[in-house]
Amino acid sequence: MPKVKVPRKSTLIDMTAMCDVAFLLLTFFMLTTQFKSDETVIVDTPSSISEIKLPDTDILNVTITREGKVFFNIDNKNFTRERLLGKISEKYPQLQFTTDEEKAFVLTGSVGVPINQLKGYLALEEVDRKMYSQPGIPVDSTNNELGIWIMQGRLSNPGVRVTVKGDQGCPWPIVKRVINTLQDKNVNKFNLITDLEADPNKLKGI
């Protein structure tokens, strides 16, 4: 009796379809991705029901940490940051920024050092700069450097939109001082950055 031949089937699977899917997804993620920006400070924002999205460019951001330190950031559309540093060094001629420091300022994120320490901060190596704990920009009534930053920032990019990003636990008097500074510089319309929270009025409908 002849043996029953069990035909050996190949275990090969056609991978083409899977490959197609993988690369389709890859293309999608590559095109939609926006890398998380290098945050120098971590802030836990409060939540609100507001659904206005924040644009990517033309943003002047004031960050307030839980400890009440104030940081300043502006996006670099059309070389705003270069212009801003130029204006700062015009105002403070004793700070002669080198080309390397200028480059460092353009690439770095939020700034939170008093202006007289800015040169030293920018001269640090990139790794050291990330490790350095910035003391925050002074906002006292006698030495309000935040006002200078805001004014020069707005001069560098007139179409800029001012946002305030505060930590949930930061004490109100500091936020009030920042808001007063903004009002002094005629910024009466600004945005508070918040997380999304469900709107109870909409939840009723479900």
Binding site: M15, L25, F29, P46, S47, E51, Q168, Q183, D184, K189
Partner: protein, 173 residues
């Protein structure tokens, strides 16, 4: 793996000439690579942009403003929210020296401040809410109250500095 099929091609073996090579390629490593990159991009991407809440502050008056030039707020229309420390919140109606409804403690839940705001907003025409954070308040409390304005659909509200009289009101409560 791909070699298996090459053997099948040459099964008969009688015809001389060049072997027909299979055009099949093993795609497994390519798929591996594809998914590795997909995972990388999926994890680094940020989809949700942060939300923002727009806030308008009044223009600071330049120089001294005379008493008559200021628009006096009618006591009957004023609704004051006092934000204290430790997540406490209080409200009263009227002006500090002539309150219409006395100061009451409340909280940030849906049954607290929101209920009062909705009820008063419906019964009082042109109600104006004055939000007065004390120095003990934190930023979250203030944003929560501003958010309550949006939820209760109150259009007239203002962030105002607290007066010493009102701080005493909270202390005496």
């Amino acid at each position: 793996m791909a070699e298996l099929e090459q053997k099948q091609v040459g099964k008969k073996g009688k015809k001389k000439g060049r072997k027909k090579m299979s055009t099949r390629i093993d795609l497994t490593p390519m798929v591996d690579l594809g998914f590795l990159l997909v995972t990388f991009f999926m994890l680094t991407t940020t989809f949700s942009k942060p939300q923002t809440m727009e806030i308008n502050m009044p223009v600071k008056p330049k120089g001294e403003v005379k008493e008559e030039e200021q628009n006096a707020l009618k006591a009957s229309k004023a609704f004051n929210i006092l934000i204290g420390g430790d997540n406490k919140v209080f409200w009263y109606r009227g002006l500090p020296n002539e309150p219409i409804e006395p100061i009451t403690a409340s909280n940030y839940t849906a049954d607290g401040l929101r209920k009062v705001l909705l009820a008063r907003n419906a019964s009082i025409p042109e109600m104006v809410v004055l939000i007065k954070p004390t120095d003990d308040a934190n930023y979250k409390n203030v944003v929560d109250v501003l958010d309550e304005m949006n939820i209760s659909n109150i259009k007239r509200y203002a962030l105002v500095d607290i007066s010493p009289q009102e701080i005493d009101l909270i202390k005496n409560l």
